[in-house]
């Protein structure tokens, strides 16, 4: 595939992302015109407008973009690794570990950094638990990794239900909103954004190797790929990306499953194209979804996961029907 063939869809997606970000910072429950928004973005505007756009909307929109991008890239990696179309960033129990961490922190009355820190710790714990258990069993295959992960996820699910069932009533709403995905407290988008950029830069040179891996381990081995280390690298990278995403916004569902599939249906399955495209399209989807979640019934706020599914399901079914 020529370089220009790779670049054209990416440029289109990048333009879409910028458009979505611009729409997201100009729309909100406070009525600001596009002119006022642009004025603030070039350094002018009233103090109130500046606070609304630069301190509330922009960090939130960038967090949404980073979270969506991270989840979509992680989902694409998991689908290559497990060679299973149902794989998503959460399939191996990582979200469960993060959720248990976050819920325990909330149960203890913590908020903010403590909750996200605890979620991150839970995600890492789950990753290494699955890694250790799947490796300890010797004969390692993606199927075994998948089974280990799914069972661990079920275990986390039970712990989550237990915490929710015994938590005092006044802590429940916060917990449920975290589980549905919540961008309202994302004040610092830079860590997640930089992880996304670094991950894309690191994964791009691996694209060709991943293309080979996606065809099966035997073929990859024949073609000289060090399969086992590559698989672990993919697993750990996907887990790290997901952990950062979950730490930023809770467990936002659906983006990591649907975006890679949509892009494969539309663009083919060249990982050199799919991975950066996932970062852009996943980010755009979540920015748009979060914008709708904030505004459709404002000042009431909807959980962003509902919107990602409401947009994603029909769009995905349409692509699926068209592609046969």
């Amino acid at each position: 595939m020529a370089v220009s063939d790779l670049l054209r869809p990416l440029l289109l997606l990048a333009a879409l992302s910028l458009l979505a970000l611009l729409a997201s910072v100009s729309l909100g429950s406070a009525d600001l015109s596009l002119g006022q928004t642009l004025q603030v973005l070039v350094g002018g505007g009233s103090d109130l407008d500046r606070t609304l756009i630069l301190d509330l909307r922009l960090p939130r929109s960038l967090s949404a973009f980073a979270t969506g991008g991270l989840l979509a890239v992680a989902g694409a990696l998991m689908q290559v690794l497990l060679r299973n179309p149902l794989a998503d960033p959460y399939v191996l129990g990582l979200s469960g570990g993060a959720a248990v961490g976050a819920l325990l922190a909330m149960l203890a009355g913590a908020a903010g950094v403590l909750v996200s820190g605890s979620a991150f710790a839970g995600a890492l714990l789950s990753t290494f638990l699955v890694f250790g258990l799947a490796r300890a069993t010797g004969a390692w295959t993606p199927a075994r990794l998948l089974l280990t992960g799914v069972v661990i996820a079920a275990g986390w699910g039970a712990v989550m239900t237990l915490i929710l069932a015994t938590a005092p009533g006044r802590r429940l709403p916060g917990m449920l909103y975290w589980l549905m995905g919540d961008l309202s407290q994302s004040g610092r988008p830079w860590p997640a954004l930089s992880v996304l950029v670094v991950a894309c830069a690191l994964l791009l040179p691996l694209g060709r190797t991943l293309n080979v891996l996606a065809r099966g381990t035997a073929q990859a081995a024949v073609l000289g790929v060090a399969v086992r280390p590559l698989e672990w690298l993919v697993y750990l990278t996907a887990s790290a990306l997901t952990a950062v995403a979950v730490t930023t916004a809770g467990t936002v569902g659906f983006v990591g499953l649907i975006v890679p599939h949509m892009l494969r249906l539309a663009l083919g399955s060249d990982q050199r194209l799919i991975l950066p495209a996932c970062a852009l399209a996943g980010g755009t989807l979540l920015v748009v979804a979060d914008m709708l979640a904030r505004t459709v019934v404002a000042p009431e706020q909807l959980p962003v996961g509902v919107i990602t599914a409401l947009i994603g399901v029909p769009a995905f079914l349409f692509l699926l029907a068209r592609s046969r």
């Binding site: 406070a30 407290q185 904030r294 706020q301």
Partner: protein, 300 residues
């Protein structure tokens, strides 16, 4: 510095304290300690207040600050003027942008509903947040006094808070020696939930000379089994429900005619809100509760 002056220093200090006491207007800062134990100070009485829960809205109006409330969270329905306030989202899920756009000089938050992380974002933007957690009658009175202090209605708020406490004290005296009635208070039917002694409803029951059969439960709002309620043999079963739901709310208990509460026809449905929201209306709710319990006592 000469010896005499050093020796006189405490005298100067005493004079300074006496003067500042005599001229409260000089001390411009209005301060109060909130539920997170933070000392919240305002340079002048708050003129634009955003309330983040129905209870906080009601307490602000009680403190005489109704005119200063510029926006409130959903379900702020009492007193009636509060229904027309601009909304800033649901208490559990706030619209930060709408709050900032209201340009508040004071935000009143509720620890049992509002997200601590969301409110931290507002604090980071330089907005003043005052947290409330009324868990006792004294806390309610205290909240009204504090809000009055922060909004410049000190005397009115203090007066209303004192009347509230005096009304409760009168109830306590009146039913001190009444025959105890064993009560099961049903918060919810599916799953069956009640309250322990720390919940305000249970404290209201105690005022009226009733005994909450689950007072000693570990959790504030325990889930209990139907069986354990039957074993506790309550002499009255209470719940709060809107009139339209009153018939249905406790109907399930009629399946147990031997239960003292059923045998003595003591299944009581109270109007909602007045006992469940920790505000000054709890006094009315408690008075009503005591009358209903007094009638139930008569049927035993």
């Amino acid at each position: 510095m000469s010896r005499a002056v050093v020796w006189l220093r405490p005298v100067f200090a005493a004079i300074a304290i006496a003067l500042s006491g005599a001229m409260p207007a000089v001390a411009a800062d209005r301060c109060a300690t909130d539920a997170l134990d933070r000392n919240v100070c305002l340079p002048a009485p708050a003129r634009r207040v955003v309330s983040l829960s129905p209870g906080a809205t009601e307490l602000l109006y009680s403190a005489g600050a109704g005119d200063a409330v510029v926006a409130a969270s959903a379900w702020s329905d009492y007193p009636p003027p509060a229904r027309d306030l601009p909304r800033v989202g649901d208490a559990n899920r706030l619209d930060l942008e709408a709050i900032v756009a209201a340009r508040p000089d004071l935000i009143v938050a509720w620890t049992d509903g509002n997200s601590r992380s969301q409110l931290e974002r507002l604090s980071d933007l330089g907005l003043t947040v005052f947290w409330l957690t009324p868990r006792t009658f004294d806390d309610i009175a205290r909240a009204v006094v504090d809000l009055g202090q922060l909004t410049g209605h000190d005397a009115l708020a203090r007066d209303r808070a004192n009347r509230f406490l005096a009304g409760l004290a009168a109830l306590r005296d009146r039913y001190r020696n009444a025959r105890p009635v064993r009560v099961f208070y049903q918060i919810w039917d599916e799953p069956l939930m009640t309250v322990n002694r720390d919940e305000l409803i249970s404290k209201s029951l105690a005022l009226c000379g009733a005994v909450n059969v689950f007072a000693d439960a570990d959790r504030l709002v325990p889930r209990v089994s139907r069986e354990s309620v039957l074993l506790a043999r309550p002499e009255a079963i209470l719940t709060a429900a809107p009139e339209t739901d009153a018939e249905r709310a406790l109907a399930a208990w009629r399946a147990f005619p031997d239960l003292p509460a059923v045998a003595h026809d003591n299944l009581l449905v109270l109007p909602p809100d007045r006992l469940q929201r920790p505000t000054l209306r709890m006094l009315d709710g408690a008075r009503d509760l005591c009358l209903r319990l007094e009638a139930a006592r008569g049927r035993l």
